[in-house]
């Protein structure tokens, strides 16, 4: 599904060169639920941006679902993002002047789906996240949890192969976080690959596989064998260190 090899990325910060990613090699299989952990500055956001084709690495190769992601024009990158990847952000990133329905339908606008069809589909996805009755509300009229569920519906509407989430529960309370995580589990159970970046251990612990980054290097990559939905007491039980 995802094949990263030798990915490096550095930024110029004033006088210093910051190596956000150093020679990252990473394979993610279809249907995996991966958490990427790390303190701030560890390079986890950069990795996510590379995975999401929002950022291009300095060196290395990236293959997504059999497609080599390199030397893409900005227009092609936009098309790949639209087709293959769904994004969920910490700050939801809904467009504030659009209703929940229009926000969810927006990716289909860029696929040139007719308004009627995309609204129908958007309603279906809103129903799926339990917000059908909020379809006409603007983001400002939604709670944080509702906003994130709208954002997830938007990420899912194009039926992407890969769902990328950047601290999706970072701005939410515990019980709302749980609802959101349940949604992730649900789509993962249906076969979608989920990669989520978090610094919260209990969120990371719910993933099937946990990768820890530090200073741009992968320092740990563990896969647990426990059932993905039943995580309660086994989180400190790493198995199958690769």
């Amino acid at each position: 599904m995802i094949d990263l090899s030798g990915i490096s990325k550095s930024y110029q910060m004033g006088q210093h060169r910051v190596h956000a990613l150093r020679e990252i090699n990473l394979q993610i299989q279809p249907g995996e639920f991966v958490a990427i952990q790390g303190s701030s500055g560890s390079g986890k956001s950069t990795l996510l941006n590379v995975l999401g084709i929002l950022d291009t690495p300095d060196t290395g190769s990236y293959t997504l679902d059999g497609h080599a992601i390199e030397n893409l024009s900005t227009a092609d990158a936009a098309r790949y993002r639209n087709r293959f990847i769904g994004f969920v952000f910490q700050s939801f990133n809904l467009i504030h002047h659009k209703s929940a329905l229009d926000n969810v339908a927006l990716p289909l606008y860029y696929q040139r789906v007719a308004r009627k069809q995309r609204n129908l589909k958007a309603l279906e996805y809103l129903e799926h996240v339990g917000l059908k009755d909020r379809a006409d509300h603007k983001p400002s009229e939604l709670s944080g949890g509702q906003s994130q569920r709208v954002a997830i519906a938007r990420a899912l509407i194009t039926q992407p192969a890969l769902l990328l989430a950047d601290e999706p529960t970072g701005a939410l309370d515990t019980s709302t976080s749980e609802q959101i995580m349940n949604l992730f589990h649900e789509v993962n159970a249906q076969g979608m690959t989920v990669v989520l970046v978090t610094h919260e251990p209990d969120i990371a612990a719910q993933a099937h596989r946990s990768i820890v980054l530090r200073d741009g290097d992968i320092v740990s990559d563990r896969t647990r064998d426990a059932a993905r939905h039943n995580i309660s007491d086994h989180d400190s039980d790493p198995v199958n260190h690769s």
Binding site: N49, G52, L54, D55, T74, A75, A78, R79, R81, N82, R83, F87, F89, S91, N93, L94, I95, H96, H97, K98, D102, L106, P107, Y109, Y110, Q111, R112, A114, R115, R154, T158
Partner: protein, 423 residues
């Protein structure tokens, strides 16, 4: 490229920022509105002035003798100068560039009146002696009969052409007076025509009260001998009446032995100078209107560009989101340009319609005054060249698009990572 879906997006954005949209639109609206109204008024005033000057030869020059103010060749100053038939002949043979030379005589002083009698009826009229050439100076039509001809002059016939009021007062409107007799200072004239100037303008009462007789008859019966009162002259086309007048003056000065520097010896009045002055005034007014109008439009364009720049900065995040979910840079650019086009197009057209409506209302309210027969207002139906108006709007649209292109290209290049990181 621009389809219904795109308009849907544009409409949503414009609606979401109602105040910003309204402010930008009102800038454009006023620019176009003011330009249209000012152009309309400019045209209205110009056609009003043209209308009031229609019917006059716009380049006619009048010249008359006054008195010398300087001694010359042993002659004292203060000598009265009287023009004569010989002057007429000399001017016609020696001055090139004269199209029409109409020697004229009046029975009384300037604008003075004399009694005209028909049977038991009496009225007052300005009596003049004229030649057929006068018709070129004052274009006229005839309700009855004809104007004075060469035969009348040659045979010194006692005939008269009368104005409409004289006709009405002495004969009544529905009577054909041709062949009837009128008396001026107890001398009988036969009426040969009733004339009507092509346009009355502000002199209606005077024009209606004219009685025109052949110059030769006039000189004889009223004892003027060879004397001429003044000349009305029209230069050949392409010539300035003033330059022809200078030559006339030279000939007359020589003939009457006047110091060539004694400019006050012969008086003249020149409608061409007036006409040119008015023309120049209009060039000025037009330049003013365009300057103000275009400056207003330019302010509108700058407003659009400015507001789009702010709007784009404010919407960085939105563009970042759009790009992260699949908007191509091109589609971002297209959307922004479509927003500008919509804003400018709609408000520009609204301004155009409002301007036309305002002109229509003005025309409707002033119609009773400007359209009456003896209207002497320097204003007529304000008109607009729609092609010019539309061209102004198209130019406005293009200018706005160019002005928006810079911030729009910036938006196109927004890095979603950067845009979404901030908060």
């Amino acid at each position: 490229m621009i389809d219904r879906e795109l308009w849907g997006e544009v409409w949503q954005v414009l609606k979401a920022n109602r105040l910003r949209t309204l402010l930008t639109a009102s800038g454009i609206f006023w620019g176009v509105f003011i330009l249209i109204v000012m152009l309309g008024f400019g045209n209205g005033i110009q056609s009003g002035v043209n209308k009031s000057m229609a019917g006059y030869a716009t380049n006619a020059l009048y010249m008359w003798g006054r008195a010398t103010t300087r001694p010359w060749q042993g002659l004292p100053p203060g000598r009265e100068l009287r023009l004569t038939n010989e002057d007429t002949a000399a001017l016609q043979s020696r001055v090139a560039g004269i199209d029409t030379l109409a020697p004229r005589l009046r029975l009384a002083r300037f604008r003075g009146r004399s009694d005209v009698v028909h049977g038991s009826k009496v009225t007052d009229a300005e009596i003049s002696g004229d030649t057929p050439a006068y018709q070129n100076v004052l274009p006229m039509t005839f309700r009855h009969g004809r104007f004075i001809n060469q035969l009348d002059i040659k045979q010194k016939r006692k005939v008269a052409v009368i104005g409409e009021r004289i006709h009405r007062d002495l004969f009544g409107d529905d009577v054909n007076p041709v062949g009837q007799q009128i008396q001026i200072r107890q001398i009988s004239f036969t009426v040969i025509g009733v004339f009507q100037p092509r346009r009355y303008g502000s002199n209606r009462e005077r024009m209606e009260s004219l009685v025109i007789t052949p110059l030769s008859t006039f000189q004889q019966v009223f004892s003027y001998g060879e004397e001429i009162g003044f000349y009305a002259m029209i230069p050949d086309t392409g010539l300035r009446s003033e330059s022809v007048a200078a030559e006339m003056r030279q000939v007359l000065m020589q003939r009457h032995r006047v110091d060539p520097t004694d400019y006050r010896a012969f008086g003249d009045w020149n409608s061409e100078t007036e006409f040119l002055r008015i023309e120049r005034l209009f060039v000025g007014i037009r330049a003013f209107i365009w300057t103000v109008g275009l400056a207003t439009l330019l302010a509108g364009v700058l407003g659009v560009s400015n507001i789009m720049m702010i709007a784009i900065r404010e919407r960085r995040r939105e563009f970042g989101i759009r790009k992260s979910i699949g908007a191509t840079p091109r589609s971002v650019l297209t959307m922004i340009l479509a927003e500008t086009t919509t804003l400018v197009g709609v408000s520009g057209l609204l301004g155009l319609f409002a301007g036309l409506l305002a002109l229509f209302v003005v025309d409707f309210l002033t119609r009773p005054i400007t359209k009456s027969v003896d209207a002497d207002v320097l204003f007529d139906t304000p008109t607009i060249d729609l092609k010019i108006a539309l061209a102004a709007i198209v130019a406005l649209g293009v200018a706005s698009l160019l002005a928006t292109l810079i911030p729009a290209r910036h938006a196109m290049k927004i890095d979603p990572v950067e845009a979404l990181r901030a908060e």
